[in-house]
């Protein structure tokens, strides 16, 4: 119940401020545009590195969103108020995680069609698998991202620390998501993707659990 309240609070805050999602969508769009200029490749050439480019874009996009995710709390010390409320710290983590997951999905809802339009991303062969992939990968990114930004943004060099800490931690996620997307885009059989999906699921579950358990240590004053 408290979790639901916390999620609602995050979402309401975002609907009022519209900071995260708008900056994520605009940034994502400009990166896609830059990609098509920078590489200027034929669709066949593109299909080779498109999966990697796509997930890199979403990693950058999520860093941008995460940098905003704790900014509202920084102002007027709202974070102290949140921490002093009778809610356990793990739930605050889950609330932020769930909300950011929604924001990231929402941002992708706008940018993913651009990948299809500009860069010929074709997922029609395995649409359902692709949806599952996006849901899990985004969850994994959010699970690590909320932890890291929870630490990073209360330090002096937050904007630098968040990507520096996040990218190496997320390297198994990037590798797995890219591999699966590659198979999906190429339209071949999905038999080889089970292993990657398993890594993604394990990552998401393990890091959510660790985040739930250790967020208390991060959010103390």
């Amino acid at each position: 119940m408290t979790l639901l309240h916390l999620i609602k609070k995050e979402i309401r805050q975002e609907i009022r401020a519209k900071e995260s999602i708008i900056s994520m969508v605009v940034f994502g769009t400009s990166v896609i545009l830059l990609f098509s200029f920078a590489f200027n490749a034929t669709p066949a050439e593109f299909s080779r590195f498109l999966p990697g480019l796509m997930w890199m874009t979403f990693l950058f996009v999520s860093v941008l969103g995460l940098l905003r995710s704790f900014s509202a709390e920084k102002e007027m010390d709202a974070y102290a108020a949140l921490l002093s409320s009778p809610v356990d710290r793990g739930s605050i983590y889950l609330g932020k995680l769930f909300a950011f997951w929604i924001f990231l999905l929402f941002a992708q809802l706008f940018t993913m069609p651009l990948f299809a339009l500009f860069l010929n991303l074709n997922i029609s062969a395995h649409f359902f698998t692709f949806m599952v992939l996006v849901l899990v990968t985004d969850w994994a990114i959010a699970a690590v991202g909320i932890m890291i930004s929870g630490m990073g943004l209360r330090t002096r060099m937050g904007e630098v620390l968040v990507p520096v800490l996040m990218f190496p931690l997320l390297s198994p996620v990037l590798i797995s998501a890219t591999k699966v997307t590659h198979t999906i885009v190429s339209g071949s059989t999905l038999a080889g993707t089970n292993f990657w999906m398993m890594i993604l699921f394990t990552f998401a579950v393990v890091f959510t659990a660790t985040g739930y358990l250790t967020f208390g240590a991060i959010s103390e004053e």
């Binding site: 209360r154 620390l161 890594i199 250790t214």
Partner: protein
């Protein structure tokens, strides 16, 4: 009081130094040549113990970080930091010795071989770990952050390894697995080297802990 005013520490350092010299002699003059690899193979007497030390260091970070988060005694934080620093030194040395071996054997210094790649990612992770120590704010807070990051990084290690391993299956794997097939002398010297390097690790770790405690003392004095 300096680190070396304790007799035990001096003794440990001297024993380690003697063993290192004996090891060096054995690796150069006693160890048999392995066909096709010639001198390049001998770096494995160092390379593998280095990896072992980095692994011990990082496991230490995990264990000490958990204990620190539970007990909140700064002693464990110093242990975790010391283990991280020592582990990262060895991690860097793996990244240096790996390419030295790979250049003559594989013809190029860097391949995206799973273990080397995992080591590189780990190295970057722990660079971040030191950054959060440095920029994390007040001592107590940056210690907590670092402890959490130490746990996250340690959990990530197997996942990174599996992902990277399957990411580039075509790349040759390390050949030292069949090192023992050559001669029993190879194994003997190898384990001797492993033992020596573990002693080096213990020396470095103890010294770093000593320095860490002095730093904490100074910090506490400046607050009073």
């Amino acid at each position: 009081m300096t680190y070396f005013s304790k007799k035990g520490n001096v003794l440990l350092a001297i024993i380690t130094l003697v063993l290192v010299l004996i090891g060096l002699w054995a690796i150069i003059f006693v160890a048999p040549m392995i066909p096709q690899q010639e001198w390049a193979q001998r770096i494995f007497y160092y390379h593998v113990p280095l990896a072992w030390n980095a692994f011990l260091g990082y496991m230490g970070v995990l264990v000490f970080s958990i204990i620190y988060l539970v007990t909140r005694k700064s002693k464990w934080d110093i242990y975790a930091l010391s283990a991280a620093e020592v582990g990262t030194v060895f991690c860097l040395l793996i990244l240096i010795t790996g390419p030295i071996w790979a250049k003559p054997i594989w013809g190029k210094a860097w391949t995206w071989e799973p273990r080397l790649t995992t080591t590189l990612i780990l190295f970057l992770l722990y660079v971040g770990y030191f950054m959060i120590r440095e920029f994390g704010g007040p001592y107590e807070r940056s210690s907590r952050y670092a402890a959490v990051l130490g746990i996250l990084a340690a959990i990530d290690i197997p996942l990174i390894y599996f992902a990277v391993d399957f990411w580039a299956p075509a790349v040759q794997s390390h050949p030292q697995r069949d090192m023992s097939a050559h001669s029993s002398m190879v194994l003997k010297i190898f384990f001797f080297s492993l033992f020596t390097y573990t002693l080096i690790l213990i020396n470095m770790f103890r010294y770093r802990v000593h320095v860490g405690k002095l730093e904490l003392q100074k910090l506490e004095e400046s607050h009073v």
